[in-house]
């Protein structure tokens, strides 16, 4: 048994503000990541939420994909 096996089932015990609070910052977070801005310390609770919530993690990846496509096409 590894710690990460258990964490996948039980989630991280760190502070997690939930899906609604995540939706508030997902756009700011994705733009920061796509622009290559340093994110350490800025989105700690949101990152905990992403590690705990598959749906929000997938939505974040989707928004990131949209922004990267926009950048590639020059629309970003």
């Amino acid at each position: 048994m590894t710690k990460s096996d258990l964490q996948k089932l039980l989630g991280s015990p760190d502070r997690d503000p939930g899906c609604d609070a995540g939706l508030d910052v997902i756009d700011v977070y994705c733009e920061a990541v796509v622009r290559g801005e340093p994110i350490a310390g800025r989105f700690t609770e949101f990152l905990t939420h992403l590690s705990n919530c598959t749906a929000c993690r997938e939505d974040t990846e989707s928004l990131m994909a949209v922004l990267r496509e926009q950048e590639k096409s020059g629309a970003g």
Binding site: M1, T2, S4, D5, L6, K8, L9, L10, G11, P13, D14, R15, D16, G18, C19, D20, L23, I26, D27, V28, C30, E31, N52, C53, T54, A55, E58, D59, S62, L63, A65, V66, L67, E69, Q70
Partner: protein, 187 residues
């Protein structure tokens, strides 16, 4: 002028919804594929309504299009998850604990030889409410998307996540008390 701007925004939202569907295509059963475009258009319609209703909350922290896109991604992904599960049942299934070796996610399969499985099962039965048990077993053990659970229970993704979060907290504390795991950080 405003109508043209709204029409352009709607077109963007439909495009983004279709992009979400394209990326999720592999998760959709064959029977669900034919309705996917309708699902995307409905998601874009609802997202447009959400954007227009929340315009006064836009603070400019991200670009307007990024801010608007998050609503259509939320709508489209939620609808597509529900669409993929529309013919499948979500109900408490005690046989999950017997079926774990075949049915569980990889993380649980690696735990199957460990006493932790029985401690976890005991904690689920002893410490969770009926609703927490349903949500934890469905979401964590059977990989049912929380949007699907939310729809079946007539509530929101956020509410189901809160139930899951509370259940996980109870289980972590119960396992620590039973001698498994480490003390939680103070938050």
């Amino acid at each position: 002028m405003r109508e043209q701007a709204v029409a352009r925004l709607h077109a963007l939202l439909v495009r983004v919804a279709r992009g979400v569907a394209a990326r999720r295509r592999a998760t959709l059963p064959a029977r669900a594929l034919e309705d996917v475009d309708d699902v995307c258009v409905h998601a874009a319609n609802d997202a447009l309504m959400a954007v227009l209703a929340k315009l006064d909350t836009y603070r400019g922290s991200a670009r307007f299009t990024t801010w608007a896109c998050k609503f259509v991604i939320f709508e489209a992904s939620s609808r597509l998850r529900r669409h993929a599960w529309r013919e499948r049942k979500v109900e408490p299934d005690e046989t999950i604990w017997d079926r774990l070796p075949d049915a569980a996610p990889a993380a649980l399969q690696r735990l199957e030889d460990d006493q932790l499985i029985s401690a976890l099962h005991h904690a689920v039965n002893e410490h969770l409410t009926e609703r927490q048990r349903l949500v934890f077993q469905s979401a964590a053990l059977e990989d049912v998307p929380i949007d699907v659970i939310a729809e079946r229970l007539g509530t929101s993704r956020g509410a189901i996540y809160k139930t899951l979060h509370d259940a996980r907290g109870k289980l972590r504390r119960a396992l620590i008390e039973a001698g498994h795991g480490e003390a939680e950080p103070v938050s």
